[in-house]
Amino acid sequence: MKNEWRKYLAARAPRYTSYPSALHFDRSVSREDYADRLSAVELYEPLSLYVHVPFCKKLCWYCGCNMRVENDYGRALRYVCALAKEISLVGRRLGGAGRPRSVHFGGGTPNYLLVDEIADILQAIELEFGLTDDSNLAIELDPRLIRDDDISRLATLGFQRMSLGVQDFDREVQLAINRVQSFEMIESAVGEMRRAGINDISFDLLYGLPKQTLASFRDSLEKTIALAPDRVSIFGYAHLPAALPRQRLIDSDSLPGADLRADLAEQADEALIAAGYRRIGFDHYAKPDNALAVADREGRLRRNFQGFTDDLALTTLGFGASAISSVNGLYAQNEKSLTGYYDDLAAGLLPVARGVELTAAETAIAGAIQDLLCKGSANIAPVLAAVSTEEAGQICIRLEALEADGLIYWGGNVVQIDAAARPLSRCVAMALDPYEFPRKSDLKASLARAV
């Protein structure tokens, strides 16, 4: 990567899985607002569903998700009942409208739940919202919790996409993040998935983890490539011990510095491209025949809360504690605490805690950021027209600086990211984001690094 771009690698930029990001949600959005939007969903509106399972068996020290370590399965059963209740409340609001086309189980650890419970949740979804044989079902799996016939049973339930949290294959690194899982364990999970006919397997890897070296990470990449997952996500670990107490368990001195982080990211990119993967957006990689790669080639790539996706549904309904829904310009996030979540549902209320209703300017910015991240270029005219004159001026100044450094080409209203600068897409997106500049100092601590 060019030397003059190095400074962008150290910049902190939001992940932009939504705009505005969840950091800007507040109490201005009520459960009634969410209910109103649900009632306005159209009969054949495609829906993307997300189910959050906030339990894990063990604490991974790097984790930034809403999760808790739980040893009492009875508590998980209580959660499944609450989920069913939430599904039913939302279903009543929809009254048959909306067609779910995908269901994603994320966490936490979805396979903390036994397959029987996962089947119950799916059945509740099928009866409330409808599922068809071509609905896409996806689930994130912790390889350490996969039981004997879990994979084949999940495949029978209709899951065609399975995602494994690999993070890193190196034992020293695994010890430093408290997530020890052998290569053989991952290899055996992949084998079972292939035998069950799963042809969309994805691995999540993290760089910037403690004790990672170029040599150890190269070895992890080689093992990954040997197992030939259909997709690989390479995320940068965001070390934010002030905001996330569990990350204080990680020895800050063992973390790679900014230069090594950049080299690790670049090494991963080069290794996966050399192995025949197509880079999707800035942190996903997919085999050329994978649905995600096809969507990217055909200009249909989108970004949602799960990252880059080929799911075209504009409406996302999230279920479970802390899950976020996006319906027609409204983001609504559920109660994060299990207590709050249970209390609302026990009272027959949608468990919405906060959110944001997009202004016209935010809608324009969200659209341009989506295009920048997914397509590498965007028409910024709607953004400049929707923000104040002063803000438009600021955006232009920021874009000029990016142009001067060669990250973007800017002609007329179209901003195009240089192909080699795609890993820095979030820095370009940030130039359009007024939230990032007036109050940058306040937010600095809680945002992830750009790479």
Partner: protein
């Protein structure tokens, strides 16, 4: 894409022979109106799998199903196909002329339709005000089908969704099958029923089996069911 039917239209020898006319189609027209409508109308055979209307293509005729059945479907924003309803004898499609059909209508079996070009219907409207409205007064249009669909999808158990669907088909196609029994043909594949009801094929099969076990279905075979007549239903 859906292949369009290409059988040459044939002017019916006489609408007097029309089997569905008594029940619905054209029944509310006066003799003078009827003779005019008859002139503008053509009857066409449609092969199984062929479409009378294709999504995204222009439509300039009002269709009425005389015999057979059709599947209505549309491609949703995310690129997938959704079954949105079924047309049976007496039902209408293409109620308005359009540059781009919102859905496709494909024959589930060898079928016959009559069609009326909207232009002619407008021409005769000068002499016979409201002729189009009265023409379709007794049959169901695509708008009724959308209403049916949301009612079915709003039902919260698979059994209710499936049995309500069968009763709906009974109203259109059912015949008496002995005392207190109705024979209901199901000309559509199971997968179409599942897609229409928002159920997975396996759930539909399991539900049909359960309904049979509970006696809410008397007989269950690939292309028909026998159910208690409306007066016998619990």
């Amino acid at each position: 894409m859906v292949e369009k039917a290409c059988t040459a239209p044939a002017r019916p020898k006489s609408c007097d022979l029309c089997t569905v006319r008594e029940n619905s189609i054209c029944a509310d027209l006066g003799p003078r109106e009827f003779s005019q409508v008859e002139k503008t109308m053509a009857r066409r055979h449609v092969d199984r799998g062929k479409a009378i209307m294709a999504e995204g293509e222009p439509n300039d005729s009002l269709y009425v199903v005389v015999d057979g059945s059709f599947r209505l479907s549309k491609i949703l924003e995310d690129g997938r196909r959704q079954v949105t309803g079924f047309l049976f004898p007496g039902d209408f499609a293409g109620v308005r002329a359009t540059g781009s059909n919102a859905y496709s209508a494909e024959a589930l079996e060898e079928s016959t339709v009559c069609f009326f070009p909207h232009k002619f219907l407008e021409d005769i409207a000068a002499d016979a005000p409201g002729v189009k409205d009265r023409l379709i007064a007794r049959g169901q249009t695509e708008y009724h089908k959308a209403q049916d669909h949301i009612v079915l999808l709003g039902k919260k158990t698979a059994e209710e969704r499936v049995i309500s669907f069968i009763y709906l088909v009974d109203k259109a196609l059912g015949v008496d099958a002995g005392p207190g029994k109705r024979r209901v043909p199901l000309p559509m594949p199971r997968q179409d029923i599942a897609d229409y009801l928002g159920l997975r094929l396996e759930t539909l099969s399991r539900t049909l089996t359960a309904l049979k076990r509970e006696g809410r279905l008397d007989e269950l075979s690939r292309h028909e069911v026998i159910v208690p007549a409306a007066s016998e239903r619990t």
